[in-house]
């Protein structure tokens, strides 16, 4: 099932995808169907009691590591983001006017479903609630080699679109064989496959849970393959993952 979280008619609602529409599943409008264009799409994540942990991977595809002139890492290169950088599908992201190189990063996002600590690879999928698509924008102008990638590059307001759907883990037979693609104004600029990850999803869950507790609703953004290009204000960027969804975002100039 594909789950969404939307604002519509003055409230926030849970919905599922049904025949090309959103079917509201709870509350006063339960059972009602609304069109994709009638709602404001929010990140497809249920609220959590404490700040959500958002882990993101750098250099998790061999080709992207090569693209950035790094040798493949021997252990996951991970950084963290604040939940406040997340925005939903069809939102706008600010692009500072004075930068040269801002690029998207299409990433498979893993949503944790059960409290995970010292999880073994073989059991890791039992701890996944589902998957969604994230676009982990970066502005390379702001890269500094201190805790790199630094938060000024990676934790900017509006710079982590996510969604539109949270797809149940049970519906994805093999998350390690999904095609990824990004288009900029309709032109394909990035294409890859999750099978080319250096550290696959079970390995990442084993690694992170070896030193920290992951809680339901926590996110792991699993990195992006080769093919990032500079984007401009006005560009419409669609990051898409097979069977998970197509996440649309528009860049606008920072006022």
């Amino acid at each position: 099932m594909k789950h969404a979280r939307v604002a519509w008619s003055g409230g926030i609602h849970k919905a599922i995808e049904s025949d090309g529409q959103l079917w509201l599943t709870h509350g006063p409008h339960a059972g009602r169907r609304v069109g994709f264009d009638e709602v404001v799409w929010l990140p497809p994540l249920a609220p959590v009691a404490q700040a959500r942990t958002v882990i993101a991977l750098g250099l998790n595809y061999a080709d992207h590591a090569k693209e950035l002139a790094f040798k493949a890492p021997e252990e996951p290169l991970a950084f963290m983001k604040g939940e406040a950088s997340l925005i939903g599908h069809k939102a706008m992201t600010y692009r500072p006017t004075d930068v040269q190189y801002m690029h998207y990063e299409c990433e498979l996002a893993v949503v944790i479903g059960r409290t995970a600590r010292h999880v073994k690879k073989g059991d890791a999928y039992d701890f996944v609630a589902g998957y969604t698509v994230a676009n982990d924008y970066a502005i390379r102008d702001y890269l500094e080699n201190w805790y790199r990638p630094n938060l000024r590059v990676k934790n900017r307001d509006t710079c982590t679109p996510i969604g539109p759907w949270l797809v149940d883990a049970a519906d994805i037979a093999n998350p390690m064989a999904l095609a990824l693609q990004t288009t900029v104004n309709g032109q394909v600029t990035q294409s890859g496959n999750t099978r080319d990850m250096i550290f696959d999803v079970p390995t990442l869950i084993e690694y992170f849970s070896s030193f920290m507790t992951l809680k339901p609703g926590d996110l792991i953004l699993t990195g992006t393959p080769d093919g990032v290009v500079s984007c401009q204000a006005g560009d419409v960027i669609v990051t898409e993952i097979e069977d998970i969804g197509a996440l649309t975002n528009t860049l606008v100039a920072t006022p």
Binding site: A51, F79, W146, R148, D157, S210, K215
Partner: protein, 221 residues
């Protein structure tokens, strides 16, 4: 001066906790001669931040458990600025930002800083009356009753308002978020270290002191 909360409910951050690296002049000056060398190539221009994820929150009354073969941790006495509903600093809290000792500041420090329980929290926060007063705060760090460090906020690279302004250039702090102003090092560039059985106390005038005992998982303190 202190915010009233239910005594049975020790304070925990409601939002995301951010830490600031290299915000004390002593550590900056020690590292400055090598900042232009590989892999850094240049001194940092913007504040260097990191996230302390929710699994690190360690409420008052609990020990720090050393797990996974860790035997020694850096003590990081600091002040956390708690953001209020209007986006301004509403409260302050003394915190211990524990980390596994690491010398390299090149790659993100998740494995060193985001282990379970690695952010000791005080029972209560303190309301912020006039934030600039805290620029002259002196935080005392005790290890087993002996003072091992005095953290003087007057020696910060960015004072509180400058830090907030420079951070807000690229990200908005949300109500409930906490921005830690940084931890200082000792004259040799290291930080006070704690091992199993050690007890730390972090205190400053006007703030609820923070105490925590370090214990080895499965072992006697």
């Amino acid at each position: 001066m202190q915010i009233n909360r239910t005594p049975q409910m020790p304070w925990q951050p409601e939002g995301t906790v951010y830490g600031t690296l290299l915000n004390f002049r002593r550590e900056w000056d020690i590292r400055a001669p090598r900042m232009t060398e590989d892999p850094h190539k240049a001194a940092p221009m913007a504040p260097v931040l990191y996230v302390k994820s929710a699994n690190t929150f360690n409420p008052a009354g609990h020990d720090l458990l050393l797990e996974d073969g860790i035997r020694e941790v850096d003590v990081g006495g600091t002040l956390g600025l708690v953001i209020g509903d209007d986006g301004e600093v509403a409260e302050g809290a003394l915190l211990c930002d524990w980390s596994v000792p690491h010398m390299s500041y090149y790659r993100p420090p998740i494995k060193f800083r985001c282990r379970d329980g690695y952010l000791a929290l005080p029972l209560q926060t303190t309301a912020c009356q006039n934030m600039s007063d805290w620029n002259s705060l002196e935080i005392e760090v005790r290890l087993n009753d002996a003072v091992v460090q005095r953290v003087r906020l007057s020696s910060m690279v960015r004072d509180l308002q400058t830090l907030l302004t420079d951070v807000s250039e690229f990200m908005s702090l949300q109500p409930g978020d906490v921005l830690m102003v940084g931890t200082d090092c000792l004259p040799d560039g290291s930080r006070p270290k704690a091992r199993s059985g050690d007890r730390i106390m972090i205190s400053a005038p006007g703030f609820v002191s923070l105490q925590q005992t370090v214990r080895l998982q499965g072992g006697a303190a």
